[in-house]
């Protein structure tokens, strides 16, 4: 049966290739840091189940250490802008068709593999379909564009360098959820919140959750970081636990309420301050100001959507 094991092997091979290509990239002054980081992630993907819990924890500490000490750098970009222009003119909009292969395969697989439980693990149809979509898109791309595996892997390494250590932030935040659960954070905050939020008021809980996601995102500059905090605090104990809300709606739209917060804060520098500098605007908060009138009504819509759809 095809399941996560096979997906992890594919991911492990990909990260191992990034590690090897980083090690060879002499133009990157920190190439050994990059190589070690992606190699550790490859090890986790390929052998995580055999390492044991403590060794996996040490592996995480090593990843955090490399990233925290500034051990990751940016490698080289080997492609020429002029050459890309020529390629763009030759392939036209068909390039976008190749981009459709991954989501279409993922969608078709998610809907279709449910009927083949003997072939694909029913719990992980989407991730298996995603991996199949990647293999399919890569195969079509290599035949159509007449290239070998070296070019996509080199280009993948270039994009991976651009993402850097932030690549494992979502996985780290998801793992933090386990420690929060173990320590009983949700129960404690739920107890506190029930003192603040009028007894049993579902509407008040929904508003507190949506506003909280946006506010914490504004303070921390990052909706990903606000998500575990607010979900442990209000989403899980109140909306899902006490009021039996649909967890998928609470999580998905809660995150989007956080994104409304991202639009309203200079703390999200990449999105709001860097563009003001790029456009040479006099007011570095001009982009934030331009976004607030969209973000506020959209936040209200998100809160209303949770209230309407989750219960």
């Amino acid at each position: 049966m095809i399941g996560l094991t096979q997906v992890y092997i594919l991911a492990g091979i990909t990260f191992a290739a990034f590690a090897l290509l980083s090690a060879q990239d002499s133009a990157n002054p920190k190439r050994w840091g990059n190589a070690a980081f992606w190699a550790l992630l490859a090890l986790s993907m390929l052998a995580g189940d055999r390492l044991g819990d403590f060794a996996n924890g040490v592996l995480v500490l090593a990843l955090v250490g490399i990233a925290g000490l500034g051990g990751l750098g940016r490698g080289t970009d080997r492609s020429e802008p002029a050459q890309r222009e020529v390629e763009a003119a030759r392939h036209g909009n068909r390039l976008f068709l190749l981009a459709l292969v991954i989501p279409l395969t993922a969608l078709a697989g998610t809907l279709g593999f449910k009927y083949l439980p003997a072939l694909v693990d029913p719990k992980n149809v989407t991730l298996v379909s995603l991996a199949l979509g990647v293999i399919l898109a890569l195969s079509i791309g290599m035949v159509w564009l007449r290239t070998g595996p070296a070019e996509p892997l080199h280009e993948g390494r270039r994009l991976m360098d651009a993402v850097g250590w932030a690549a494992i932030l979502p996985q780290m935040l998801a793992s933090l959820g386990a420690v929060f659960a173990l320590a009983g954070v949700g129960a404690v905050v739920g107890d506190l919140m029930s003192a603040v939020i009028p007894d049993g008021s579902r509407l008040a809980a929904v508003i507190a959750y949506g506003l909280g996601m946006a506010l914490f995102t504004m303070v921390m500059g990052n909706a990903f970081a606000a998500f575990p905090v607010m979900t442990a605090a209000i989403g899980l104990p109140l909306l899902i636990g006490q009021h039996h809300g649909d967890p998928a709606v609470v999580a998905a739209i809660g995150m989007l309420a956080g994104f409304c917060g991202t639009l309203m804060t200079p703390m999200a520098a990449n999105f709001n301050v860097v563009p003001a500098a790029l456009l040479e605007l006099k007011d570095r908060n001009a982009v934030v100001k331009a976004q607030i009138p969209t973000a506020l009504p959209l936040l209200a819509v998100n809160i209303a959507l949770i209230w309407l759809l989750a219960f």
Binding site: V60, A174, V219, F227, F271
Partner: protein, 215 residues
């Protein structure tokens, strides 16, 4: 009630606000929370290691990079640029609405880096918007440029979560699973669609009003 277990949340808010390396902040928050709950450091490392291993699928999203890299090497960004250039001569509302739609749709296909502030807003969208609006003074030109950058952010944020293999979707799946709730990425991404439509309607309405004001 042991209120000390909330200290990890305080560490997160403080660490992210002070812009410390985010991975260090998360690791510290886990350590502080575990210690407050009376766990010894080795047990915390093991618990975090087990959770990290159980949530590896969150980082599986990066297997799409070789495909996206190949498309970029063969001119995907240049193609997106010429699509936007094709809108030159359009009125301000048409230009910005078209861009918003293009950004939302491509982000929903996972192509988050095909456009962006450096790739498309500074070289194309902002100058084209200013040319279309013909502002009276410097301040109005600034406002139009800032609005163009905001349009890019709105399109990206409220398009990308429709794609199943994006960090935020799998972060949600992973976090919920560690708390005993199993969700499929597909269930989560479907619920991004109503907000995507609302974002298009709200921001589109503002673009329309801007077009009327500049006339």
């Amino acid at each position: 009630m042991n209120y000390w277990v909330l200290s990890g949340i305080v560490v997160m808010i403080g660490g992210f606000t002070l812009r410390l390396n985010a991975l260090i902040v998360v690791a510290l928050a886990a350590l502080v929370t575990g210690l407050a709950a009376g766990l010894d450091p080795a047990a915390i490392i093991s618990a975090f290691g087990k959770a990290f291993n159980d949530t590896r699928y969150v980082s599986v999203v990066w297997i799409v990079l070789p495909v996206i890299g190949l498309m970029e090497r063969r001119g995907l960004q240049e193609r997106a640029r010429s699509l936007i250039e094709g809108m030159s001569g359009a009125t301000l509302p048409r230009l910005l609405t078209g861009y918003l739609l293009l950004r939302q749709l491509t982000a929903a296909l996972g192509l988050t880096s095909v456009a962006g502030h450096a790739q498309t807003v500074r070289p194309l969208l902002a100058p084209m918007a200013v040319a279309a609006a013909q502002p009276q003074d410097e301040d109005e030109a600034e406002r139009i440029k800032a609005f163009a950058a905001g349009t890019d952010n709105v399109g990206l944020f409220f398009g990308e979560d429709i794609f199943i293999a994006i960090g935020s979707i799998l972060l949600m799946k992973g976090f919920m699973e560690q708390n005993g709730i199993v969700l499929s990425p597909f269930d989560l991404s479907v619920w991004a669609i109503p907000t995507a439509i609302a974002a298009f309607a709200i921001h589109g309405f503002r673009i329309w009003r801007m077009g009327r004001a500049s006339r």
